[in-house]
Symmetry: C2
């Protein structure tokens, strides 16, 4: 049966990078991948067109799709919108929540060809391969009550950090299973010395552990995790944590690989429906210049093929093609270095297609 | 008038490092510093002795003191305590809250002699000098309601992230004033694209800005701040943020200097009463071995002299002495490197005293 793919270019460099990823997807179709691809509006682009960051039409298409490819959302143009509900980010959060995409997989990998681009010493990042499993539809991002209100004659802002046992268990299982398929080490990150919600988090992880006897579970406070990532990132295999801590730690981990322009991510629900997007953001400062790096988005297509479309061979072909292009010395500006050739977004797309 | 100083050795390496700092404090007394020094129990040590991490007697002494020197609290021995209120960390949080120590100053400095110890490339950290101003008595650490309770047939953990305008304004002023005394750049870190409480945070910072026209205020989302610290830390001068984000970012920043064994911190209230402590933790793994680095604690005494005791000349003498000792090539194990001489905690104390 033909499966549906929805492409959401979003804002900033989003349209440029998804355009290149679409070409690869078309190449996969030419090789027999039975999918139907359509586009939709999300984020600032949707707000500009319809006054809503997540229009009903986009949500319908998203629900009907087996997989979504997202560019990125947000930019200074919409940062001043008084109504938080209208901001581009709320469109993204809406898709995550409405589709129940609770399992966010954020690999932090150092590409051997790019190890020198890391701000860390090469020996600390060479061969780095961490998988951060972030809970994506709960925690403080979605907790109620929330708002800004008058109390005792002044305004007070408040949000609620909340997790139920079942929410923790669900993401815990994703992480344990991921660890089983990888290096069999799982580090759960919390702040259980201060926050009750993360005491429950730690307790549930402990309760699950005996069901995965081949996985070694450890716990780390979030402040220490931030330090350990900077100090010796290779000590980690799989890391599992909540929405907010996951946001911070996965970005730090991605950046320290030096390969942030290369890192894809997946957000999955229980049925394997997924949204795929680069780890990096919408980079409004370089939007429209044709110089953005499309590789993280192209590699997001590979992740999609593997996790939602059951097409691992095509996924591998894409990944191999990307490796070849790097070996040939082609680089977009963000990863340019001495002795390499700087190419545009479209030229990078051309090169991957040629190597595919 | 004789001022009171309270030393709280705490847990792990705490007693070893405060012992060396006490010797420096005694040397300052010998040079005319008019203080009276006493000791008290806090954290796990207090729990073991009195069943409470912050005994009433300690709190009394703390309130009566002009300044407190803390070693560190916590350790695996107490991590399993079911009752969060009994954990060592709660003793520390209690002192902060009861004394109103809302202004936490966490410098992240690279000592020129130690730049090679950083996991970052030397050119990225050489000369690094950031001041992180962390709000310390509010936010999610203290927000109500909090707890773990049964809802819809399962347990749910919850905490509240809350700030009032006056709390934000108070820490904002500390940060703006700090920026005025330094490089005149202030970066406020929030997650205003998702969390209402940080929308209010950003708004208050904006409102204060015109009163400090010589300071350039910018805003950054916390995930981006974690990335920028790793990528190019020297872009920052003063950073201001809430309790939780400050915990994570200040630890990451401290670690990336390579000088974490060297970094002091101050926690101040409106009257200039303060608690001073090293940025690093209680390091239970090396406790009792006489190998811990006492320099961050010794430098905390210098901070105390400057911020609470109005004795900047003595503060400088301590800092100069520490610099000399490093120049002589003396290092404790944590900062040892080729061509340096590894010394014990007490030998390091001896050396600083000799150079004082
Ligand atoms: C855009 C923003 C709402 C989002 C988040 O914080 O989840 C982004 O930072 C991410 O990590 O995907
Ligand atoms: C021990 C702990 C409660 C404390 C905190 O999180 O504030 C520590 O990590 C710190 O940063 O001083």
């Amino acid at each position: 049966m033909t499966q549906k793919i929805l492409i959401l270019p979003g804002d900033g460099i989003g349209p440029e990078i998804t355009a290149q990823a679409s070409r690869i997807l078309a190449a996969c179709q030419a090789c027999g991948l039975d999918v139907e691809v359509e586009e939709g509006l999300l984020g600032g682009a949707a707000y500009d067109a319809h006054g809503e960051p997540l229009p009903a039409e986009t949500l319908e298409k998203a629900k009907a799709a087996r997989a979504i490819l997202l560019g990125a959302v947000g930019g200074p143009k919409w940062d001043k919108l008084e109504d938080l509900a209208k901001r581009p980010e709320k469109g993204l959060l809406g898709v995550r929540k409405q589709l129940g995409l609770f399992g966010n997989l954020r690999p932090a990998i150092t590409y051997p060809q790019l190890a020198a681009a890391s701000s860390l010493k090469p020996e600390l990042v060479a061969g780095l391969d961490i998988m951060i499993v972030r809970e994506l539809t709960g925690g403080i991002y979605f907790g109620q009550p929330r708002g800004i209100e008058e109390r005792n004659g002044e305004r007070v802002g408040f949000n609620t950090y909340v997790y139920s046992e079942s929410e923790i268990e669900r993401i815990g299982r994703v992480a344990f299973e991921m660890a089983q398929k990888r290096g069999k080490k799982l580090c759960s990150v919390d702040k259980a010395n201060v926050l009750e919600v993360t005491i429950l988090w730690r307790e549930v992880m402990e309760r699950l552990a005996p069901e995965y006897p081949d996985v070694e579970l450890s716990h780390m406070y979030v402040d220490n995790a931030a330090m350990q990532l900077v100090r010796a990132p290779k000590q980690f295999d799989v890391v599992v944590t909540g929405n907010m801590f996951g946001d911070i730690l996965s970005d730090a981990a991605a950046m320290l690989t030096g390969s942030i322009g290369m890192l894809p991510s997946a957000s999955l629900n229980e049925g394997g429906q997924g949204m795929y997007e680069p780890c990096h953001g919408s980079a409004p400062d370089i939007a429209g210049q044709g110089i953005a790096n499309p590789l993280a988005t192209i590699l997001s297509v590979a992740m999609m093929l593997r996790y939602s479309l059951d097409a691992p061979l095509l996924a591998e072909r894409i990944e191999t093609a990307v490796g070849k292009v790097l070996d040939e010395g082609l680089r977009t500006a963000d990863i340019a270095a001495e002795g390499t050739r700087t190419v545009s977004t479209a030229e990078m797309g051309d090169a991957v297609l040629a190597a595919f």
